[in-house]
Amino acid sequence: MEILVCVKRVPDTAENEIVVNSKGTDIERGDLVYSVNEWDNYAVEEAIQIRDNAGGSVTVVTVGDGDAEEILRREMAMGADKGILLSDDAFNGSDGKGIAAILKAEIAKGQYDLILTGAQADDGAAQVGGMLAAMLDMPYASLVNKIEIVSDKVIKIGREIEGGNQEMSEIDLPCVLSIQTGINEPRYVGIRGIRKVASVEIPVHGAGDLGIAAGSVGAAGARVKRVDYFVPPMGEGAEMLEGSTDEIAEKLIELLKSKGGIK
């Protein structure tokens, strides 16, 4: 099984307070800690497990700048066989459709049976996988939390739907799946693993290599554009308890008692 996994480098929301800059044009990026998008990490783990059982290879690909290479190496340290960086100034400012179009151009150069994305990335768009599938004319399933290889033509998948229920389907290969967290337990990657792949060469493909016309992607080709960042007015918001730990705890206990929170 030849598997391609699309991965994205994102600010790690568990590690960072996201703050809007003074002009509202962007978030403050100076001190952000970046990592691989949480959902993509599950997708790579799943791909590695399928390869280990069914044979084949795992390629990880990202659209990003030079810094994005580090996440390809991280996923290769996990066990992906190959990394490809899609990078070009012309890609800057792409909307979801632009990213999907860039990925499609790379995919068209290879032969993949299975293409995985994360269910969603940092802006919670959950769009690139479904767009990519439609562009490739391949069947698609989102929020996949189970994959069972039936043959080299068809696989059985579970989608996580509301209430934690699971929708089981059969889907023909080649296909695109977006992966939901919890499908597996992604393996730990140590410093030693990263060192091992530190000198592996990662090809970089730009618009010219991919045959992408200038203006069809990037800011020029985007029909969906973010105009600003802002923090909405808090509305009522919570009453914040302040003071010493003792004072806060006492106040909270009183409140909980009055609301039936302490039995």
Binding site: I18, A119, E167, V227, Y229, E239, G261
Partner: protein, 323 residues
């Protein structure tokens, strides 16, 4: 604006989803004068029931009936919608597990722009529609301009456009003949119900809920001890279940359980809409989080900015002393 607006109606067992009543409100925000059509796809008597409910809300209802649509398989429905929708249409769908499956690909096939997870609509500005979205788990919001000149697909977040008692005496048009062959390369097999756990968190009046801020599996004991002391049950957010620290049956949220407690104590939970979507009945909510900007503070009644790993054991000790 002269573009027609269509709303995809989700329904189950003959009852329309809440989103059906919200999408028309969203449509009117785009253009108060627009002709809005409800698109209802399915099979059998259930389909007719939903169509007549929708005719009381939407001025026009399109019905697509086919045995292949008895279960909403997004792969099949995408083909149906591409066949029946006119060029340049604006299509609204819910941003739920179905809409996430359907809409990104639909926008490509319709050659329309796509805006996912819309939480607000500010109106039309020339060729653009101005919408509001959230990023980074709701920590920041953004205005998004979408060029709708060739049409658009919008996925709308549940609960953001509250139903407004829209009344209509709409007519139902049968579009089944134009739906195409309803075949797809993904075939629905069955729905497997979520596992039942040892503890039923939906039965407890008081929940102590842990999120990723608990940092380590061992620390869950801190929450358990607080819960034992006050007579509560421990529930959690999704990352705790993904990490296999607690069983799935303890997860609160759209892909977990819907709970209706009197008191909800959130420890190290940021307040994503998928988590909050599982909390109903407006409980008295206490949020303990070390990030003062965490979105949970916008919905909680009481907020405490602190390291829960230090604060919660002290709180538990104090309650024990008092008892």
């Amino acid at each position: 604006m002269t573009q027609p607006i269509f709303a995809y109606i989700s329904h189950k067992n003959g009852t329309a989803d809440d989103s059906a009543f919200e999408l028309i409100v969203a449509a009117k925000k785009i253009d108060p004068a627009a002709a809005v059509t409800a698109v209802v796809c399915g099979a059998g008597a259930e389909l007719d029931a939903v169509c007549s409910t929708m005719a009381a809300v939407y001025p026009d209802v399109w019905k697509v009936s086919n045995p292949a649509l008895a279960y909403p398989n997004a792969e099949v429905l995408r083909g149906v919608l591409v066949s029946i929708l006119p060029a340049g249409a604006i299509t609204l769908a819910p941003h739920d597990t179905f809409g996430m499956d359907l809409s990104p690909g639909l926008s490509i096939k319709l050659n329309a722009a796509f805006v996912p997870d819309v939480v607000g609509i500010e109106g039309i500005d020339g060729a653009n529609l101005k919408t509001i979205r959230q990023e980074f788990g709701g920590q920041v919001s953004t205005h998004v301009l979408c060029d709708i000149s060739a049409g658009a697909v919008l996925n709308v977040r549940s609960g953001c456009f509250l139903s407004d008692d829209s009344k209509a005496s709409g007519s139902v048009t049968d579009k089944s003949g134009q739906a195409g062959d309803c075949k797809a390369k993904r075939r629905f097999l069955e729905v497997v119900a979520a596992e039942v756990g040892d503890v039923d968190i939906t039965k407890s009046d008081v929940l102590v809920s842990v999120g990723r801020g608990i940092e380590d599996q061992e620390n869950i004991g801190i929450a358990q001890e607080l819960a034992d002391t006050i007579g509560a049950v421990v529930s959690c957010s999704r990352p705790i279940v993904d990490a296999k620290w607690l069983e799935k049956a303890r997860q609160v949220g759209t892909s977990g359980k819907t709970v209706k407690p009197k008191v909800y104590i959130a420890l190290g939970i940021s307040g994503s809409f998928q988590h909050l979507g599982g909390i109903k009945g407006n409980p008295f909510m206490v949020a303990i989080n070390k990030n003062p900007k965490a979105p949970i503070f916008q919905v909680a009644d009481i907020g405490i900015v602190t390291d829960l790993l230090e604060f919660v054991p002290e709180l538990t000790d104090k309650i024990k002393e008092m008892k």
